[in-house]
């Protein structure tokens, strides 16, 4: 049962690590704009030549 000392220590240390990662994210401003990235991800990276195809369509 002595392994519980080890397991508990590891779990608390891991939890602390996650907490620190969260605080680091918060400080670096990752949560400041939680809306724009959701739109940005939907933009397609098209080559400029596509616009010519488009204008000839009509």
């Amino acid at each position: 049962m002595a392994v519980i000392y080890f397991l508990l220590s590891v779990s608390v240390i891991m939890g602390t690590l996650f907490l620190l990662v969260f605080l680091w994210n918060l400080r670096s401003g990752q949560y400041e704009d939680d809306y724009t990235p959701s739109i940005r991800i939907l933009f397609e990276d098209k080559k400029p030549s596509n616009s010519e195809n488009f204008s000839s369509k009509t």
Binding site: G15, L26, E32, T36, R40, P48, F54
Partner: protein, 823 residues
């Protein structure tokens, strides 16, 4: 292909407006309504950005306004640049623009592709909710003027003011830092709460004390270790605040909270290290966690709103100066000197008191004085700062520096500044109740200690004393108002009523008197009602066309309104000949067979049929008087129901207007009595009026929109700025109301009252929990388990009760009100 276009109603390929048949421009086989739109298209096409037009939710922006690059020349002045830039190292510079026009995902797409339009731009990042764009550019390749001109050309003119960049920006940064900090605190407390609960589980179910005794100690030590950061980092604010208020001699809610926290920590430490029990570390961590959640919940802020903008935000940053050589130069407004000659164009603001030297001045003072109609000024007349020129370009000579102008002086008066008693929103009801609560709690705690000492049981005495302070810790009490008020604030925000902070709700609950401003508040901005009054017979179609054509040639606001008012479907193909404009008098010209004159009664030598204050334009065709146009304010349609309901509910209503009494006969149906309506009120009169009402014991709510209301808005118990576009400038206020939600005002007032009632009820609930807990505590039999269950349970009950009941009330009130407007 283009031949077919002319027969059907064409819409502009860029902005989507209907193109006027004879004004349509064809470019690349596509119709455009104006040069501006066509140029944006050409610019985008050239750079391969036509994908913009295929975006699904494209909501278009018209580009009719002409962009003059010189207008932004001031941006390259070193002293202004230094204030605007976020960062600069000589090579790379970063700047954040506030762009009110951002509204859809295509905006984001276009603005983030700026580097394709200007090679000097390295990247641009949009923050959609804040309507901001961060632009990073190479200083050697491009400059601010070029970037802002480009933005303006594609329809995204940034809003640049210096006060926003200095004070407001710092304020904004402070708030965002505080919010980050509170989230960090919640994270630490939540981490401690969760882990301690987990580690305490064996304790809750009972250790087998023989074989697992050493585990037990180990678990307790780890718990204690984890709770330390929660106490000293997350919970320290409460202890600090309690200490501060005690020093000032005030007992607020933080005092019993801090007392509870300290007792919890010391007793837990004692129990754990003296090997008596497990202590109350789980309760301690949970308490801090819930308290912080409540604090965070009531701190709802609206990203794009500013409540404390001063008049500088309304002013331009720079103005065109006429130099001795006759050229124009951009200078910062603050550097204007007496005797400088400045050039003001259409829709630009006059930054300093000055004298008219050249041109036709039509000054719109509505924002400063409340006057609805633009005022004409003649050469040599003084024009006060804050007015907006409408029409052609004028030249002025500055007679007073900006710092001594009428408007600035007005603003800087001490009495116009609201006393900033405290930065934080203080809830009076909560502080009032918690004072009594604290004294009762201390009485019970000392009562317990005295009783057990009398019984000669010292251990029990200390036990009971600490237990009372722990269980009495008014967690539920501290949570009820943040959650109730926070919920109410969110509901109001959803229905377009944006509060500065939650304390405004408490103020609103006590309001008994409402004061309305006229221009811009109960009237619609930029929309006067035009009415045609014929003298003998009506106008023929041909005559209407002639009047419209003539009016189109003038930039005078009244001419523009006549042009808008007259309906017309046929294309305007007739030319106006011999057009002449007489400043301050009227216009005349020959349209086909008609010799049309539009102008004042005096100029056209007409007997005034009726003496009132409304602006009128008389019409003579071929020398014969046909009739006249009357310009009247157009009132918001909700006003009638709103005022009626408010009167029925027993509120006292007043009207305070800077305008003349011309509208009084129309307004009396809303305000019932003539003595409730006050006209020709200067900003100072308005301030005095609010003050006198307050002296007679009234709780006053002021609704206004302009700088002329700023003093009264500050003085009133609740000052509400009414605006048609929340992204634009509003005077400093406690709340900002979108004009479309004005009809809901009565619902907002009722919701505020109901919310305060819910808070009182939830105090009752939390008191019941406290009494149950105290009955254990005074006997000295409070086990950590009971504490650990009771505390979260009472908190959750109170939070659920307050949020749900406020939400239900809000839905009921605001929905029923919406129906009222519909029928």
């Amino acid at each position: 292909m283009s031949a077919t276009h002319t027969h059907i109603a064409t819409t502009c390929y860029h902005c989507g407006d209907t193109c006027k048949p004879n004004e349509t421009i064809f470019y690349d086989d596509k119709p455009f309504c104006c040069n501006g739109c066509q140029q944006v298209y050409a610019l985008l096409q050239e750079n391969g950005l036509c994908e913009y037009y295929t975006m699904e939710d494209l909501q278009r922006i018209s580009q009719k306004a002409e962009v003059r690059a010189e207008k932004y020349a001031y941006l390259n002045l070193p002293e202004i640049k230094a204030k605007l830039l976020d960062f600069s190292d000589g090579n790379t510079a970063k700047i954040t623009f506030y762009i009110p026009a951002i509204h859809c995902s295509s905006c984001i797409w276009l603005l983030e592709n700026l580097h394709k339009l200007n090679k000097g731009i390295q990247y641009s990042r949009v923050d959609f909710l804040k309507k901001q764009v961060l632009v990073s550019y190479a200083e050697k390749e491009t400059d601010l003027q070029a970037i802002v001109t480009l933005l303006a050309q594609i329809g995204y003119e940034p809003h640049i003011t210096l006060s926003d960049t200095e004070k407001a920006e710092n304020e904004q940064k402070r708030i965002s830092r505080e919010q980050k900090q509170i989230i960090a605190k919640i994270a630490v407390a939540g981490f401690a709460f969760g882990n301690i609960m987990l580690i305490s589980f064996p304790e809750y179910f009972g250790f087998d004390s023989h074989s697992e005794g050493s585990f037990r100690k180990f678990f307790q030590y780890i718990n204690f270790l984890i709770v330390l950061p929660a106490f000293f980092y997350s919970g320290w604010g409460y202890i600090h605040s309690a200490y501060q208020s005690i020093r000032k001699g005030i007992v607020n809610i933080d005092f019993p909270l801090a007392l509870g926290l300290i007792v919890l920590l010391t007793r837990s430490a004692y129990e754990i290290f003296a090997d008596i029990g497990a202590g109350y570390v789980d309760t301690l961590a949970g308490l801090i966690f819930f308290l912080l959640l409540g604090k965070w919940f009531q701190q709802r802020t609206y990203d794009i709103l500013r409540y404390d903008r001063d008049f500088k935000a309304y002013f331009p940053v720079a103005v065109s100066l006429q130099t001795a050589e006759g050229t124009e130069k951009q200078v910062p407004v603050a550097q204007l000197k007496v005797g400088d000659r400045i050039v003001i164009r259409n829709q630009e603001l006059i930054p300093a008191d000055s004298i008219l030297l050249k041109g036709e001045a039509n000054i719109d003072y509505s924002f400063v004085t409340g006057e609805a109609m633009p005022v004409e000024k003649v050469l040599g007349e003084i024009i006060y700062a804050g007015g907006k020129q409408i029409g052609s370009t004028i030249e002025l000579e500055v007679v007073k520096p900006v710092s001594q102008s009428y408007l600035t002086e007005l603003w800087n008066k001490d009495e116009f500044q609201k006393k900033k008693a405290s930065q934080e929103a203080t809830i009076r009801l909560q502080n009032f109740l918690s004072k009594y609560f604290t004294f009762a709690l201390l009485a019970v705690a000392f009562g317990g200690i005295v009783y057990w000492l009398w019984q000669n049981d010292l251990a029990r005495a200390i036990n009971a004393f600490t237990a009372v302070l722990i269980i009495g810790c008014p967690c539920a009490l501290a949570l009820s108002s943040p959650f109730a008020l926070g919920t109410a604030m969110r509901i109001m925000g959803k229905t377009k009523f944006y509060l500065k902070n939650v304390a405004v709700i408490e103020q609103m609950a006590h309001i008994d008197t409402l004061i309305f401003d006229k221009t811009g508040t109960i009237t619609e901005t930029d929309k006067a009602q035009v009415e045609w009054k014929a003298i003998q017979q009506g106008l023929s179609e041909a005559e209407k066309v002639a009047i419209k054509l003539l009016a189109r040639n003038s930039t005078h606001p009244l001419s523009q309104q006549i042009y808008q008012y007259l309906p017309l479907d046929t294309p305007l193909r007739i030319e106006v000949q011999d057009f002449e404009e007489f400043t301050g008098k009227g216009i005349s010209g020959k349209v086909g067979n008609f010799w049309v004159q539009l102008g004042s009664a005096k100029w056209l030598e007409v007997e005034m049929p009726l003496q009132d204050y409304h602006s009128k334009v008389f019409v003579k065709i071929n020398g014969e008087l046909k009739g006249y146009f009357v310009f009247r304010n157009s009132y918001r349609k909700e006003i009638e129901t709103l005022t009626q309901n408010l009167w029925n509910k027993g509120y006292d209503l007043h009207l305070l207007s800077g305008d003349n009494a011309g509208e009084a006969p129309y307004l009396v149906k809303y305000f019932l009595k003539n003595e409730k309506m006050h006209f020709n009120q200067s900003p100072h009169d308005k301030w005095e009026f609010v003050k006198s009402l307050q002296k007679s014991g009234k709780k006053v709510m002021m609704l206004g929109d302009g700088l002329n209301d700023a003093g009264a808005l500050q003085k009133a118990d609740v000052g509400i700025a009414v605006t048609e576009n929340i992204a634009y400038f509003t005077p400093a206020s406690d709340a900002i109301l979108d004009a479309s939600a004005l009809g809901n005002l009565i619902g907002f007032l009722a919701l505020a009252q109901k919310t305060m009632r819910v808070i009182k009820q939830s105090f009752g609930i939390s008191l019941i929990y406290n009494i149950i807990g105290l009955s254990f505590a005074v006997q000295g039999t409070l086990s950590p388990l009971i504490a650990a269950i009771l505390m979260p349970l009472s908190s959750v009950t109170v939070v659920a009760f307050t949020t749900l009941s406020v939400k239900a009330k809000g839905n009921f009130l605001l929905k029923s009100n919406r129906q009222n407007i519909n029928c």
